[in-house]
């Protein structure tokens, strides 16, 4: 029947597995079956590095078979429901219901309804409390688990931190419990003692009259009060796959992805990734070149991409980039570079790499004025940008992309005007070049403005988010202040960011709204063509949920935040200090310049000990 269905859907290659590098095992000879689910369409999920790493990490265990599943596209879902075909794994076409674990990687809030939908398509009860002994354990990992509360009622386990650290212990514990004939509860009881493992059903939450949390308490005495993230200390020693799954159909990124470090030294105050992945831990460039060679050979990919936060901060960037160029430029393997600080070296490098030239120069000042950049601790100055552009223009570059955010804390009209002014100055810079040298090429500056979403574990976690109307007003104001025809202005639709703002800082009560939104038809919310804001507003209304309470409310420092029982190592006092420094427009130096004692040094590794 599957075959007949596959002939009736768009891109059936999404549902057939069989990729290069796919693990083939005999499920009857493994003790643990783990379904790794990415709650988005195949092409998106397969481009995700985390999936590739964890897939091979789990499969390196002989007793475990990790298989994959993705959110079926609408047409496929329709056919599956029509024919009562449950969601299956791509490796062996086994229904997800038959697995021991069904794991979801939670990369963005807007994929939550897809999680619910995938559980439903699998015939697995959606709420954890409704699941029986024989149902799989539902486990979540990834960046959204730093505040997993809106999903708490759907999951049995959240894994907080980097997968390589605790999965072995978790799976060993599972196996032992299964052999001993233990129950699910027995397993969860043992699991909650493992580092980084959070069992949401082991906690009670109570609320004040004003809706804020009054207490968050463990139900049993064996349950830890806080769960701290786990991280890999030495990235050169930890497992890293030497092959990649190579999809049979075109995906978002068909390339070798090299992770050069984890974490970020910069500490931009709005950036959750910059805080939760602290401290920076680098890999040795020689080690990377070796791994890269193996990945290129085993995948046959013709593009290599360096993926890390702020990759230009890598101390061994030069030898790595030169090593890659030397090795691969003659082999028709291209290298895609991240956005770099513009100087003579990086320009020369970018010149050698064709892929970059097409897309132009990129800067992420995030805010239009120096004042606001100080507030958000974005250590990039106008002078730096203009100098970089000048250098690039005289080297023949003519496209510049600028990334901004609107709705940042303390933002005023002057700051917004700054967006237009900066773009304007860049255009002027171009016309300062003698006419003969410009070769009549037109210049384009694209200014792109996203809507600021305050996130947990940032200096702005207490801030109110602008409302949809406020965002529209700001966008209009910026748009109207841009007059030059060489400047293009793009902006994100605020509705999506607003909803993201609700879910990002939500608590457990939001699960009802989420469930309702799904019932009303919400799914693939990160896809503009499917996102329906009205559906969500209706879901909020029907469940008596106030989105404003979550998104647009200023919190006080002493409020119990829904994610307070999770620890990323950075102390709350540090975030308060940062929030105050933001108001005072005082910058904090990056980790390499000077340690600000955020608390993360107790992990005993990385930049804190360089």
């Amino acid at each position: 029947m599957l075959d007949e269905i596959l002939l009736q859907v768009e891109k059936p290659g999404r549902y057939i597995g069989n990729e290069g590098g796919m693990e083939i095992k005999d499920p009857s000879k493994t003790d643990i079956r783990f379904a790794f689910c990415f709650p988005d369409v195949y092409e998106v999920g397969m481009s995700h590095l985390g999936l590739q790493i964890l897939y091979f990490f789990l499969n390196r265990r002989e007793d475990t078979y990790c298989e994959r599943a993705f959110a079926p596209w609408h047409d496929m879902e329709e056919k599956m429901r029509e024919n009562a075909l449950p969601l299956f794994s791509l490796e062996t076409f086994t229904p997800l219901k038959e697995f021991d674990f069904v794991g979801f990687t939670l990369q963005y809030e807007m994929s939550y309804t897809n999680v619910i939908n995938m559980l439903d398509l699998s015939g697995i009860p959606i709420f954890a409390k409704d699941r029986k002994e024989e149902d799989p354990l539902i486990i979540g990992g990834g960046p959204c688990t730093y505040n997993p509360e809106p999903l708490a009622d759907f999951f049995d386990i959240f894994y907080i931190g980097e997968g390589e650290v605790s999965y072995d212990e978790l799976l060993d514990t599972y196996k032992k419990n299964k052999k001993a004939g233990g129950t699910k509860f027995d397993f969860l009881k043992a699991a909650c003692r493992i580092k980084g493992i959070y069992i949401p059903s082991f906690y009670d939450v109570s609320y004040n009259d004003d809706g804020t949390i009054s207490a968050f308490t463990p139900k049993y005495d064996f349950v830890p009060k806080t769960v701290e993230k786990v991280i890999v200390k030495d990235l050169d020693k930890v497992f890293y796959p030497e092959k990649q799954l190579v999809p049979l159909i075109e995906t978002v990124h068909d390339r070798v992805t090299l992770e050069v470090f984890r974490g970020c030294i910069r500490g931009c105050r709005f950036c959750q990734a910059g805080y939760v992945y602290r401290p920076v831990r680098e890999k040795n460039h020689q080690h990377l070149l070796d791994v890269c060679q193996k990945l290129v050979e085993s995948s046959g990919h013709e593009e290599i991409s360096l993926t890390s936060l702020s990759t230009g901060d890598y101390r061994e960037f030069k030898p790595l980039a030169e090593g890659l160029l030397e090795k691969y430029s003659k082999d028709n393997v291209s290298i895609s570079l991240p956005s770099l600080r513009i100087d003579a070296f990086s320009l020369d490098l970018m010149d050698k790499v064709q892929a970059v030239r097409r897309s132009g120069l990129t800067f992420a000042p995030e805010a239009g004025s120096q004042r606001l950049r100080d507030v958000i601790n974005k250590g990039i100055t106008e002078e730096e940008i203009l100098k970089g552009c000048e250098l690039a223009f005289s080297g023949g570059w003519t496209r510049v992309k600028l990334y901004f955010m609107t709705g940042l804390p303390t933002e005023t009209k002057e700051d917004l005007l700054g967006i237009a002014l900066l773009a304007d100055k860049i255009v002027s810079k171009y016309f300062e070049i003698p006419k003969e040298e410009r070769k009549d090429k037109p210049i384009t500056v694209v200014a792109s403005a996203a809507c600021f979403v305050p996130k947990p574990f940032t200096a702005f976690q207490w801030e109110r988010q602008s409302t949809v109307d406020e965002f529209y007003e700001k966008q209009k104001f910026v748009k109207n202040s841009i007059t030059r025809k060489q400047i293009k202005y793009n902006y994100h639709e605020p509705e999506l960011s607003s909803l993201e703002g609700v879910l990002a800082r939500g608590d457990r009560r939001l699960s009802h709204a989420l469930y309702k939104a799904w019932q009303l038809g919400a799914k693939f919310d990160s896809w503009q063509e499917f996102f329906s804001y009205d559906t969500w507003l209706e879901a909020f209304k029907q469940t008596n949920t106030s989105p404003e309470f979550y998104a647009n409310r200023q919190r006080s420092y002493d409020e119990i935040l829904p994610w307070d029982h999770i620890s990323i190592g950075v102390k709350k006092e540090f975030f308060i200090e940062e929030a105050e420094k933001a108001k005072a427009e005082v910058v904090t130096p990056n980790c390499r310049k000077e340690c600000s004692h955020c608390g993360v040094a107790r992990f005993g590794c990385g930049v804190c000990y360089e």
């Binding site: 059936p12 290659g13 057939i16 069989n18 190579v246 049979l248 013709e302």
Partner: protein, 230 residues
């Protein structure tokens, strides 16, 4: 081009061209032509074959398929010509590609061909086996075999056109629900099995549902009569 790098015309013996025959079945029938091309490009690299690249701004591997295989159709005989920079024993080509191919695609044989050959130009007909969800087509098959002319409607560039297809049907037989046919195939004339099946179903007054039908391409030929293998 470098100044002292003079343009030297290639001599025919410098061109190292190989023709590979492969099968595509199981789940791999669900990947389309462009994805198959990508798969070949990557596999040639993974298998470390010394593939020749085109010259110019956007170099690409020199390989050409005889004719695209429609998504969903199985094949026991697809052909691709590839150019290498040096001679490689055909057995090595077969084994190095098969070692890296996923399940569902396999090289059956490889042979060196002359520089002027090109499978896309060489192919003239193909054999197909079709498994139908219905039986009882014997009369229509007999009628078709006896007829001199068959007109079908085909939509070409959004316009419905009458096309004569009889000369394209070289052999046609049926046994139970298994239909076998040899059809003219290639750039100089082409009849898709689907078009023929649609016609047969229409004559029978039945609805033709493509996904209920299993089609397999069995072989390709260098002549229109289905006798000289590609």
């Amino acid at each position: 081009m470098n100044e002292n790098e003079k343009f030297v015309p290639l001599r025919p013996e410098d061109i190292k061209k190989y023709r590979l025959k492969f099968e595509k079945n199981q789940k791999l029938i669900y990947i389309g032509h462009l994805d198959l091309l990508k798969l070949f490009q990557r596999s040639v690299k993974r298998g470390k074959l010394p593939i020749e690249y085109s010259k110019g701004f956007n170099p690409h591997q020199l390989m050409v398929f005889a004719i695209p295989l429609p998504l969903g159709m199985e094949s026991g005989a697809e052909y691709i010509d590839i150019r290498l920079t040096e001679d490689v024993p055909p057995e090595t080509i077969v084994s190095s590609l098969n070692a890296v191919f996923p399940q569902g695609i396999r090289i059956l044989e490889a042979r060196k061909i002359s520089f002027s050959q090109n499978c896309a130009a060489d192919v003239h007909s193909a054999d197909y086996t079709v498994i139908l969800p219905h039986t009882g087509f014997e009369d229509i098959i007999e009628e078709i075999n006896k007829s001199e002319s068959i007109q079908i409607e085909r939509t070409v560039k959004k316009r419905v056109k009458q096309t004569e297809i009889r000369p394209y049907i070289k052999k046609l037989s049926i046994e139970g629900n298994t239909l076998k046919t040899t059809l003219v195939t290639g750039s100089q004339g082409n009849l898709k099995p689907d078009d023929l099946l649609k016609y047969i179903y229409k004559c029978k007054g039945l609805e033709y549902i493509p996904y209920k039908v299993k089609i397999k391409r069995e072989e390709m030929y260098a002549d229109t009569e289905g006798s000289v293998k590609l």
